[in-house]
């Protein structure tokens, strides 16, 4: 019998090994904690919010025979009352019709008009259609402005400007702008667009305020995207006698576009979600008219709108809280997440399409 073989690779306990295990678990738990928080937030909103939307489907007499009162109607006050022994919840309009019908019925029967002991809750009935419209308008307008200004200045900084102290200072200033709190942009918009330009609380004031807020992100990301386009494409084009702009337009910008879009997706989520910049510049607590109900086309730009994030803020902090308002809060948050996801998804699809078209 020979000696048993000694395994030189056997596990040996040491401080290093313990530390290795410990750090591994710290990293793993941190990741799972983040995941858990994210899932909890989304789960909570989806569970409580989806009910509000799903319960609001109603059939109608006209095409398309089904509608969703939460998505496609304006907010109303909610009336809660007991009538004929039944507890009823009705929106403003519905309640008035109901009361009139009951009164005329009583009159026909020669009875005294019925008394309704109601409790009312503001904004807890109806829907959020004006907020959806307002948010979409704010996002589209401000991203158009931000992309135009941002891509233009990124092209200037990256392709035209000579690198020097001035350009470096501009870059630094832009980076710093990204760190400015959104409420400060709101105040800037109030002072600049609302008061100084005298645009009042309006779509256009909100557009510019939001655009300035996301500009730093758009510029920085656009510059990165432009830098990622190989130098050879520029040189090859210039060597064929193209001007700088011809080169950029046909041989640089198309290839940078997917990267620019990626950054604008982040911008969209931010523009759609920020409350502070629009609360002084563009958002109304409540507005009966929809944005396209204007007399002159020019008025379109100079009207305030309702917006989803501001509506959430109003219904969660500016009115008395109860079970009825909670439905609206969660419902609005749910729809809001849905819209941001939808816009972001559209941009991602667009980006992937462009990416597969321009590969190098």
């Amino acid at each position: 019998m020979s000696d048993p073989v000694v395994n030189p690779f056997a596990h040996k306990a040491s401080r290093g090994r313990t530390l290795e295990k410990l750090t591994f678990w710290v990293f793993r738990l941190a990741t799972y904690l983040v995941l858990f928080c994210g899932l909890f937030v989304f789960g909570d909103i989806i569970l409580k919010g989806s009910g509000t939307v799903l319960n609001a489907f109603k059939t109608t007499d006209t095409f398309p025979y089904v509608t969703n009162t939460f998505l496609f109607e304006a907010p109303e006050s909610l009336y809660v009352f007991t009538h004929n022994g039944k507890k009823l919840e009705m929106g403003d309009k519905e309640f008035r019709a109901y009361r009139e019908a009951a009164e005329s019925q009583a009159k026909a029967q020669g009875k005294p008009a019925p008394k309704f002991a109601t409790e009312s809750y503001v904004y807890s009935a109806g829907g959020i259609w004006p907020c959806i419209v307002g948010t979409v308008l704010l996002v589209v307008g401000s991203m158009t402005i931000a992309l135009f200004l941002g891509v233009s200045s990124a092209i200037y900084l990256n392709e035209y400007a000579k690198d020097g102290p001035v350009v470096r200072f501009i870059r630094l200033a832009i980076l710093n702008l990204a760190g400015v709190p959104s409420i400060v942009f709101g105040l800037f918009g109030l002072g600049m667009f609302v008061l100084f330009f005298n645009w009042n609380v309006s779509l256009i004031a909100g557009w510019f305020t939001l655009a300035f807020m996301v500009l730093p992100v758009v510029i920085t990301a656009s510059e990165e995207a432009l830098k990622a386009v190989p130098k050879g494409f520029r040189e090859g084009s210039l060597a064929l006698g193209a001007t700088k702009w011809q080169t950029i337009r046909s041989n640089v910008l198309p290839y940078a576009l997917p990267g620019i879009l990626t950054s604008s997706i982040l911008g969209i989520a931010r523009v759609a979600g920020e409350t502070a910049p629009i609360m002084f510049t563009a958002a109304y607590v409540v507005r009966d008219k929809l944005p396209w109900d204007v007399e002159k086309v020019g008025d379109f730009f100079f009207q305030g709108v309702m917006a989803l994030p501001y509506h959430i803020y109003v219904v969660s902090s500016k009115i008395p809280q109860n079970d009825y308002t909670e439905r609206v809060q969660y419902g609005t948050a749910f729809v809001f997440l849905g819209i941001v996801a939808l816009i972001a998804m559209t941009s991602i699809v667009l980006r992937n399409k462009l990416r597969s078209r321009y590969k190098w």
Partner: protein, 276 residues
């Protein structure tokens, strides 16, 4: 000069075809007393050089000797780099100073095309690559563009290989084909001069041979200036060779003379492989 112990000298074969052709070539490009700077750093010192029309001239020399810089001066590609300047001297093409006040670099580059070290086909179709130069000049006539595409691809000896896939991406081609595509793209705008900046350095020997054959064909129509690290390549395909060292033109003569009977000891040391 310090030389490594037991230098491996070798003789470069100079084919008979590179002997000076009959007849005296006209001077197309006249570089006179050229001093060129990158910022404060001088890259070219007092370069005097006359380049022949419809001939192939090779620039050789070790890395950093200024040969690429001079090449990029000829179509003012150096303008794209911040801080570069021609401090003294002139470059005249057909007796016009290309650094003069009334010269537009855009117009110059239409006459003086360039092929780069790293093949850089645009991520567009082969057809769009060839027509790019004409399109930016405003040519939209489909028949004319088709004609140019065929002519340029034939001129770059690429037509037979790609005629069935003109509308596929130029990036789908092999390395050698990509470089010939870039040559085709350059000749599509019908320049007078084609600058080639180490066009074969990323190619295998077979692709290199094809490009060199092509250069032989192209010199019937174009003036070609080629920067190369391969002395065999210079010997095989150029009529005249200029040897640069440390930003100075050391020797300029017929390729045969440079390789067989150089007058400058530095040239001799370089072409025989003792340094560089």
């Amino acid at each position: 000069m310090e030389t490594p112990a037991a230098p491996a000298t070798f003789k470069v074969n100079v084919p008979a075809s590179s002997a000076p052709r009959n007849g005296v070539a006209d001077t197309l490009i006249d570089i006179h007393n050229l001093d060129f700077f990158y910022g404060a750093k001088q890259a070219l010192f007092d370069v005097n050089l006359k380049l022949d029309d419809k001939r192939v001239t090779a620039f050789i020399g070790p890395s950093g000797c200024g040969k690429s810089t001079l090449l990029r001066c000829l179509n003012r590609m150096n303008d794209l780099i911040d801080g570069t300047s021609v401090k003294r001297g002139s470059i005249k093409i057909r007796n016009v100073d290309i650094y003069g006040k009334n010269v537009d670099a855009i117009e110059l580059r239409k006459r003086v095309g360039m092929v780069f070290q790293k093949s850089n086909p645009f991520p567009k179709s082969i057809y769009e690559n060839i027509t790019y130069g004409l399109r930016i000049q405003g040519q939209t006539n489909k028949a004319r563009l088709d004609e140019v595409v065929e002519k340029s691809l034939r001129g770059a000896a690429l037509w037979d290989e790609v005629k069935d896939r003109l509308h596929e991406s130029g990036l789908g081609l092999s390395g050698g084909q990509q470089q010939r595509l870039c040559i085709a793209r350059t000749i599509a705008v019908e320049p007078e001069v084609i600058l080639m900046d180490e066009p074969c350095s990323a190619l295998d020997p077979i692709a290199t041979a094809k490009v060199e054959e092509l250069i032989h064909e192209l010199k019937k129509q174009f003036t070609i200036i080629i920067v190369t690290h391969s002395m065999q390549q210079a010997a095989r395909c150029s009529d005249k060779t200029a040897f640069f060292y440390m930003g100075k033109l050391i020797e300029y003569a017929d390729t045969r003379t440079i390789f067989m009977n150089p007058s400058n000891p530095q040239t001799e040391a370089y072409v025989s492989g003792r340094f560089g």
